[in-house]
Subunit: 204 residues, 2 copies
DNA sequence: CGTGGCATTGATGTAATTCAAAAGACGTGG
DNA sequence: CCACGTCTTTTGAATTACATCAATGCCACG
């Protein structure tokens, strides 16, 4: 079943029963949680090819919402896919490996979130998207999400995200075509900042 | 193959080839990463019954070290277990569900690490261990790891962990039998602090 | 009875949040 | 096309929470 959705449309809400597994065809989405006081935390961004909304529980732990215009999503009935996973070795193996990859990604994300400073987190985010989004093959990145989304993904204030991006721009590590399109000029430095978070220690 | 290990023994190192999958029988261990400047980040604590060291990659992304005296670990040859996963539906399903659970745990952890304040993180940690470690059935918790381990798990300074625990003790949310054994007196407040992180807003 | 690792506490510095506001994007309708 | 309102992004000033530095207390172990 194919869905065509617009920005801020919800694909499912936290607490909904898990009836389908979803796959992004075009566009982008965010998987997020809300706390009682209205704060939001983004757990993952979904891009074309990403499978989501599957898991051990009977109900969704998170909400998933569209962030890019004219996003299309495919729904697979959950039961059928689970049955297929149990009968077909190939499908089963595929799902298992997909789950393992998700685990590695989440562990890496845990490291990023946990350890580092604001500049390091934003650097890590840009590098992550340079890898995921590679559309031109070059260092050009397009960010489908707002600064608020990035802030909630990296667990920092919007202002801090903006400042970090400005800092990177001033140091000529990145350049902007416009607010949502940028290019990495100095990947080496970006990788360095991701690890250290310290802008001073230039001496390699 | 059964291993008996002592505190600080390494079960495997980051970069080692993945030859086995491991299962904790008794004791405890920590899965951690190190950055070039020597800082450490703990990704997960392993307790009896936890399977670890499996994944998509050919080499381990993390190191795993023992934290409790006389810890015993079982090793399963990786190839055999993977073959079993492909031939036996039950095993396959079991592993898949185990992976899904790991994903949910990691996502939850992401939320904890990401959003909240020091007090909230320590509260979340205590509640997590109250659930995992339930040995007496009561609210008694024994922490096999040092404050340094907790700090690296929650991505904060040791001193901050200590201060948070002291704050909780002074507010009579927890009491200590000794440094590594404590009891939760006021679970309600602990759950509240985990969500809000704000010690002021007592008005429910 | 000393020694060394772990734990707590205090004083100080700093980086990120918060509060506040201006400038830029974007769409709508006159 | 321009004026208008709204939302996003950026920048500045002030505050705050955490990290860092430094010192002391606490146990276990030899």
């Amino acid at each position: 079943m194919l869905l065509r959705l617009e920005v801020n449309d919800a694909i499912y809400h936290c607490g909904d029963p898990v009836l389908y597994w979803h796959l992004v065809i075009t566009g982008a989405a965010r998987k997020c949680a809300f706390s009682w006081d209205g704060r939001r935390q983004i757990v993952d961004f979904l891009l074309p090819g990403d499978l989501f909304g599957f898991g051990a529980h009977e109900v969704h732990c998170f909400s998933t919402e569209v962030i890019a215009p004219k996003t299309s999503i495919v729904r697979y009935p959950r039961g059928a896919l689970e049955q297929l996973a149990e009968s077909d070795r190939e499908v089963s193996k595929c799902i298992r490996e997909l789950a393992f990859e998700a685990i590695v990604r989440l562990q890496t994300r845990t490291l990023i979130l946990g350890r580092t400073s604001a500049l390091a987190r934003v650097s890590a985010f840009l590098l992550e998207w340079a890898d995921r989004g590679r559309e031109g093959g070059g260092a050009a990145i397009s960010l489908p999400m707002s600064r608020y989304d990035i802030a909630d993904y990296l667990a920092m204030a919007v202002e801090t995200v903006s400042r970090a991006l400005t800092a990177l721009r001033l140091r000529q590590v990145i350049t902007f075509r416009n607010t949502r399109h940028l290019t990495i000029c100095d990947r080496r430095t970006l990788e360095f900042l991701r690890e250290s978070g310290d802008e001073e220690a230039e001496a390699v």
